[in-house]
Amino acid sequence: MKCIFRNKRISAILSVVPGQESCFDDERLNYNLTEEKARRMKKMMGLDRHRVVPPGVCSSDLCLFGLQQLLNEGALKKDEIGALVFVSQTPDYYLPPTSNVIQGKLGLGHDVICLDLNQGCAGFVIGLMQAFMLLDIMDAGKVVLLNGDTASKLVDKRNRITYPLIGDAGSVTVIERCVEENPVHLCLKMDGSRYRALIVPGGAFRMPSSSETLKLAEVEEGVVQSLEQIHMDGAAIFNFTLEDVPLQIEEVLSFSGNSRESIDYFLFHQPNQFILKQMADKMKIPQEKLPNNVVGIFGNSSSVSIPVNITHNCGKQLRNGTLRVCLSGFGVGLAWSSMVMKLGPLTACRTVEYAAA
């Protein structure tokens, strides 16, 4: 699908990361890795450290913390909120929707619409799409997009494929109408036939939770997992990122009348450094225009990786000025979504650390 949104803008982005940092060098022994293999892996994937929530902290806590900050500093007022969109694969409950829980905790009015979206790596761009669509039909108010993921709860510490890469984070993005046309170009594709490439097979209703699905087993050396944790076909995902995503970037650039040169930054989902470097090379985008540092500082936080990328790498530039950016999220679904837009100046654009209330 391709579409254009007009007269809408992002006015603030706040990323929230857990205060606790975990280092790959300390985790190496959990994975039974030799020093040499750990060194290769660290260099190739760009690993160093990542952020993981302490027990008891949920995605929604990170989002709520960020939202409260924006309210406290006056970047957003409670009565301006028309809708809450919560994008996550780690909700508080099967039911009710977590966005309703957040609405209740904040004491927002009953006219504030709450929507949960189950999306992962493509979930920031898809969340923006949902927010823009809501602004088209709402009579007033702003949309608050909340992205939250705590993948650390879906992987085992002794899994060398998934654990070193993941990171927990939340973000709050405020989207509103504006007088300027400010066109936003979106290209979105989905391929459900490859749904198994990234999956938590058990624990929901296709394969209900049981002692069998909870059983942890070492399926190969250094790969401990249960059926209720993330299973990733790394090579298939790699093929996908090099085959399908670059074509979409070409598509969204031409659809929006841009060239590689007219885009200031390509702010992509952050699976790992290796994939991002290959993508940049393949698309002939200079490495400095396509940041790849997030996984080694915060970890891959699924739908939150783009906001973390934005606030960490472009915070100052976006508080003070405007950038033309190409956002792209790709992964679980499979889903891939890319957007070209003008971003900034933003009233808030920074990364903060979560502190328990």
Binding site: M44, A235, A236, F238, N239, L242, F274
Partner: protein, 74 residues
């Protein structure tokens, strides 16, 4: 495709002096998931071909890998 050059690139990925066509890939210490990803990336970047995960899993010798890449180029 220049096979010698291909084997030189493969040797670089596997961190060995030399790879010859009769070498069994599994016999190399560093033939693991990281190297497989590097080979997929090399095939794409240098030869413009996409090798899929299941295809590479069925490859035994270095020569088979070279043939797979070559066949895909046609």
């Amino acid at each position: 495709m220049n096979k010698l050059e291909f084997f030189r690139r493969l040797a670089e990925i596997l961190n060995v002096e030399e790879v010859t066509e009769g070498n069994v890939l599994k016999d190399f210490d560093e033939w693991d998931s990281l190297s497989v990803l590097s080979v997929l990336a090399m095939a794409d970047a240098k030869y413009g071909v996409v090798i899929h995960a299941d295809e590479i899993r069925s490859v035994v010798k270095a020569a088979d890998l070279a043939e797979l890449v070559e066949a895909k180029q046609k």
